[in-house]
Symmetry: C2
Subunit: 316 residues, 2 copies
Amino acid sequence: MFRDKIKVLDCTIRDGGLINNHNFDDRFVREIYKAISASGVDYMEIGYKNSKELFSPDEYGAWKFCDDEVIKRITDGIESKTKLAVMVDIGRVNLDDVKPASESPIDMIRVASYVKDIDKAIHMVNHFDEKGYETTINIMAVTRSLDSELNEALHQIEEEAKCKIIYVVDSFGNLYQESTEFLVKKYKEILKSKEIGIHAHNNQQLAFSNTIEGIIHNANYLDATVYGIGRAAGNCPLELLIGFLKNPKYDIRPLLDLISKEFIPLREKIEWGYIIPYALTGILNEHPKSAMALRGTNKKEDYREFYESFSASDIE
Amino acid sequence: MFRDKIKVLDCTIRDGGLINNHNFDDRFVREIYKAISASGVDYMEIGYKNSKELFSPDEYGAWKFCDDEVIKRITDGIESKTKLAVMVDIGRVNLDDVKPASESPIDMIRVASYVKDIDKAIHMVNHFDEKGYETTINIMAVTRSLDSELNEALHQIEEEAKCKIIYVVDSFGNLYQESTEFLVKKYKEILKSKEIGIHAHNNQQLAFSNTIEGIIHNANYLDATVYGIGRAAGNCPLELLIGFLKNPKYDIRPLLDLISKEFIPLREKIEWGYIIPYALTGILNEHPKSAMALRGTNKKEDYREFYESFSASDIE
């Protein structure tokens, strides 16, 4: 699949940081930045821009805050055409902490938002747009949004938001081809002046497939992570996506080295990927937090009991 | 997705046996048969029917041969509606070894064939059909077949073969949605009197997705294995497929128990699944045998070198 407008965004450090409280050391992040740059990937999302008034730097690593000087420590001396992105959550960032883009190593700010917070997300992207950043709105948990409310949010974004890119985010790993097609087509139809992105989770081993489905229906911004790292089941594996895309600017080989040297050892220390409790929350369209909690107990392999805990009718 | 005609075939022991020379002990196979039966899966393929004149029982386990009395040892005393299947390869079975279906515990015989051997496959399915078995032809390695030759083979099957089911087999794990759609539609169009099946390999984490794509385009026979076990990258995970299908006759819970108790420990002993060299042979449309060989060496994680070994132009 070759389409010049396609852009790949690596969110290894940002989404992977949700597993280890963003505690990746400088050496590791530099190795990733080097490999991502050498492989021709368009963007690298390096973490969250959270307020230190809300989260303690004693409890979280540097990639929860993404101070400009810390980012410069990573990128210093490495040749790269890869742009840098950070993610912000509604209500967790102090807007005054963010300098104008001209004074920052950051190129893009992505605002993660639920449908209910879309007013706030639009306010934020417009603020960052004025400061000179590329911006996106990533609408989380769309598989649980009421269709009428999602439609209204999309119309509002089209009319009011200055960001150029809106993401379909399958937070729970519940989408498959037909539901992905439905959403991407809907976004394309309403968001006539925007590009569409897709961020898929891999609970049911469908993240890569749903990303391809996005491509088929003209999504041009594609999220992925090295070796699929990310919270719970993880994300679309970047190496598979690069293996699929035919644009000669991409090179899979630096990613292969990176996985050999860094990710095979890392996977022995922290857990992500195809793990049955995450598959089950994906099938059931549930947040993975209950499965993540289970994995920290001695019942971590008691899949049937975990599955049956969702069958009770006490949420009626 | 609910369609009454859909049949699920578990090939855990048959395809999984390619990892360990078919050396599963009776206790393990009985546990699988129990769980497959309890989960309502329609067929269980229990191994190959190979000639003992060609393969030594000293070298291979019981599921390379599938003697009737060995199968009866497994099924004895277990209540089940699941039909039993075996696979045969062209030139590796003595037809006289196969008793009439009325005297055998086996219900279905599946003939695995390359396009070039389709005459022999038709002869074999017609022979087994006369003996009273359900039969299928599984056309292997279709991603490497010349389209004109595949078309000719399909027309010949439609005209001459008595089997009711023809499988699309993605031997190398190279298919994605659009290529799966192309093949399933082609099979449906030519094989007007037959049902279509799909057997997908998981090199690129697309086996489940390609199976769903098959369903969307009216394939009704679906192969899968417990926890995706199978040679190299393995197969479509049965638990995901059962979680997707909406027919109330299927129950995911016995499979969850089976994975907890049997497959988590087994995966510590033998290897299958998402492993980069298998992903690369899938991307490159190559047989996984070179990657399987690599995994037995001390270069097993040298992915870049492995990848680059395919780039040489010496096959020109």
